[in-house]
Symmetry: C2
Subunit: 379 residues, 2 copies
C-alpha cells in the first residue's frame, strides 16, 4: 500500500533530522508535517530548523525507506494514527515545558510487530540494565519480566546484550507483550546476536520500535536518545543492574526527569554491576524493589499487590508486653512461684497473678505442683 502524503512527510522528516530536534518538532507542530517537510526540503525554514536539517535535507529517500521497512516487516506509525501512544508521550512535552531539553517527542516511529503501539505502551514497565551483566542480574531481569508479563504488564527494553535481552526473553517466556526500542533502525539487526530475538519479539505479539530511518547504524549518542523513548513509553523503569556509569542509569535519569517512576534492584555490594543501582537508591533517585509485587505497588496503577503480611509469626506475638514479660520469666524445666515470677519479671505480684491463668488458657504456661512453668512455644 502506498503511504499517504502525511506519512511520507513524516518519513522524510525522520530521515533528515537527528533526534531529538526540538526546533523541527516545533516547526512541525506549527505548520503540520506536510508543509513542514516541504519547507525543509526547500531550505525555507527558521535558522534553528535549517541548522538541524541542512546536512541531510537533500536525502529524499522516502520511497526507499518504505520499501526497506516493508521488507523488514515494519510500518511507520505517526501521531495521526489511532495507535499512536499519545498519552505516554505527552510526558515528553510536559517535561520540555519544565525545561528538560532532550524531552522531544518523536516525529513518527518505525514499528515491526502486530501489536498496536498504543496498546503496548499502556501501563507498561521498562526493565533495563547493563550489557556486562552478571548471572544474578540476568536471572532477576528474566524473573521480573516474566512476572510482569504474566500479570499482563508489557515489558519494554532496549534489546541489548545482558539485562535487556534477559528481560525480553523473560517476557516472551510468559507469552507476554514485550517491546524493543532500538538505537538504530529496525532493519539493521543490531546487536547481531539478538537478531533472532528481535524477530521473535515482533512475531510473538510484541514490537520492535525505532525513530531512526531504515539503515541507520547504531551509535552511542543514539542509545542515549533512544533511552528517552523507553522512559516515555512506560509508567516506570526498573534498573536491574548498572555500573556506576551506564546507559541504564541514563534511562533512569530520563524517566525521573519525565516524572515517571524509577526503580532499582539491589544486589551484593561487592558487585560492580549493582553499584549503579545502589547509587540510584541511596540518592533517592530510585525506589528499591525486590519483587514483582513491589514493582506493581511502586508504579501504582495496577491495583493491589499480593498480601505481604505473610511474614513469619511467633505464637507469642499476640501477647501484650506484660504478658510477654511474665511468660519470659517462666522456666521450661522448673516450677516457679508467683512471687519468683514477679521478681524475675519486675511486674507487681497482683499483675503476675492475673496474667498467669490467662497464659495458661492460651497455652503458654502450665500450672505445676510447686508453681508455674513455661509451655514450649510449639503452641
Amino acid at each position: 500500500m502506498k503511504p499517504d502524503e502525511l506519512r511520507q512527510a513524516r518519513a522524510y522528516l525522520l530521515r533528515v533530522t537527528e533526534p531529538p530536534a526540538a526546533a523541527v518538532a516545533a516547526f512541525v507542530a506549527q505548520l503540520g508535517a506536510i508543509e513542514a517537510a516541504k519547507r525543509v526540503r526547500q531550505g525555507d525554514c527558521p535558522p534553528e530548523v535549517r541548522k538541524a536539517t541542512e546536512a541531510r535535507r537533500a536525502r529524499d529517500f522516502v520511497d526507499q525507506d518504505f520499501a526497506r521497512a516493508t521488507a523488514a516487516g515494519a510500518r511507520l506509525v505517526i501521531p495521526e494514527d489511532d495507535e499512536w501512544p499519545a498519552w505516554p508521550l505527552l510526558t515528553l512535552d510536559l517535561a520540555a515545558r519544565r525545561g528538560v531539553t532532550e524531552a522531544v517527542a518523536p516525529l513518527a516511529l518505525w514499528v515491526a510487530g502486530e501489536v498496536a503501539l498504543g496498546v503496548a505502551a499502556d501501563r507498561a514497565v521498562a526493565v533495563v540494565g547493563a550489557r556486562a551483566s552478571t548471572p544474578y542480574g540476568e536471572h532477576h531481569a528474566a524473573e521480573f519480566a516474566y512476572g510482569l508479563a504474566a500479570r499482563k504488564v508489557p515489558v519494554f527494553s532496549g534489546a541489548a546484550y545482558g539485562i535487556d535481552g534477559a528481560a525480553h526473553r523473560g517476557a516472551l517466556a510468559a507469552d507476554g507483550v514485550t517491546v524493543a526500542v532500538l538505537g538504530c533502525a529496525v532493519d539493521v539487526g543490531y546487536p547481531a546476536g539478538h537478531v533472532a530475538l528481535l524477530n521473535r519479539i515482533a512475531e510473538r505479539g510484541g514490537a520492535v520500535v525505532s525513530e531512526y530511518p531504515p539503515g541507520t547504524r547504531p551509535a552511542r549518542h543514539r542509545f542515549l536518545v533512544r533511552n528517552r523513548l523507553i522512559a516515555a513509553l512506560t509508567e516506570g523503569t526498573l534498573v536491574v543492574e548498572a555500573g556506576l556509569r551506564s546507559g541504564a542509569r541514563n534511562t533512569a535519569g530520563t524517566a525521573g526527569a519525565l516524572g515517571k517512576v524509577v526503580m532499582a534492584l539491589p544486589g551484593p555490594v561487592s558487585s560492580a554491576m549493582s553499584a549503579g543501582c545502589h547509587e540510584l537508591i541511596r540518592d533517592a533517585r530510585a525506589t528499591l524493589v525486590s519483587n514483582v509485587d513491589e514493582v506493581l505497588e511502586t508504579v501504582g496503577r495496577f491495583g493491589i499487590a499480593e498480601d505481604t503480611s505473610a511474614r513469619p509469626k511467633r505464637p507469642t506475638d499476640r501477647l501484650g508486653p506484660e504478658a510477654l514479660r511474665t511468660y519470659e520469666a517462666l522456666a521450661v524445666r522448673a516450677d516457679r512461684t508467683d512471687t519468683e515470677i514477679a521478681a524475675e519479671s519486675g511486674l507487681p505480684l497482683r499483675k503476675v497473678r492475673a496474667l498467669l491463668p490467662a497464659l495458661e488458657i492460651d497455652g503458654f504456661a502450665v500450672r505445676g505442683d510447686t508453681g508455674w512453668r513455661r509451655r514450649r512455644e510449639s503452641a
Copy 2:
C-alpha cells in the same frame, strides 16, 4: 574500693527496677538518687514508682552486686561520673518529650573494660544484624566494622551470634574500640559461645555494657530494651542483615525514633536475611550504604569521605555533545569526507569542519588522504 552512697543508691535502683521505667527515672531526677532509693526501699513513693518497684524493692543486694561486678571486672558508671555519655543519651530524653514511651535513659550502667564510656560513645556507629546471618552478611559486617574502627570510629553491637559477633571481631581486628551492649548482666556470659569474645572486647580497649544488675539472665524483652541503648549511644545504626522480623530492625526503628541515622546494607533479593534491610530502605526508614565511606558520609560527622569521583572514565567523556556526534560519525577503517560525516552526524557541515581539526588535536580523529577516520579510544 567501697562504692560511695550515690553509687550504692543507683545500684539498688537498677536492681529493683526493670527498665525502661519512666516513672522511676522521673522520681530520681526529682529527688536525687540517694533520696529516691531510700523512699523506694520504704515503699514511700508515688503509685507508678511503687508499681514499678514493688516486686523487687526488698532485694537489697547492693553489696553482692558490687562484689559480683568487681569479680567480673566491671564497675558501675553513673550519671554523676565524668565518663557518663550524657550527650548521646540526651537523645532519649528529647525523644521522651516527643512521646517515645520507651525512651528512658538508664539509671546507671555496669561496664567492664577500661575505655571511658563517654569516649567510646563519642561519634560511634552501631553495626547490628540477624543472628541467623549468611556468609555474605558476616563478611560485610566484619569489613564495615574493620573499616570504621580503622578510621577511629568506635563500633557498638549486641554481642549476639551472627552479624553482631562479626562486627565486634572486625573492629577488634583493626585494633579499634568496640562496645558490646548486653540484654543480660555483664557477668552472665551470654551467649555462651561468645564469652571469650566478650572478654577480648573488655581487655582490648573496648567495653561490655549492661544496665542489668549482676546475675540477670537474658530475656527477649531485655534485648528489645537493650536495643534503645545501642541506638542512643551511637550516631547511627547500620543494619547489615535482617529478616522481615528481626531485633536488628527494632534497633533501627528505635534509632529512627531517637533521630539517629539509620543505614542498611543491601544484598541479594533472593536472600531472606536481606529482606529486612530492603524493606527499611524501600520504606525510606534507612539509607542504603554500600561501603564505609558512605557510612561516614551518611552519619555526617566525621569530615570528608574519600573522593568518590574515581569512577571509570572514557577518553570521550571530555567531548561536548556535538564533538561526540562527530566522533561517532567517523569510521575506524575507512576515510570519510566532511560531507559524509556531516550527513551521518546530522550536524551542519561548517560545524563538522570546525570540530574535525579539534578532534585531531585531541587525538580522537586522524586526517587521511581521502577524508577523516576515527582514532581508537586508547588515547
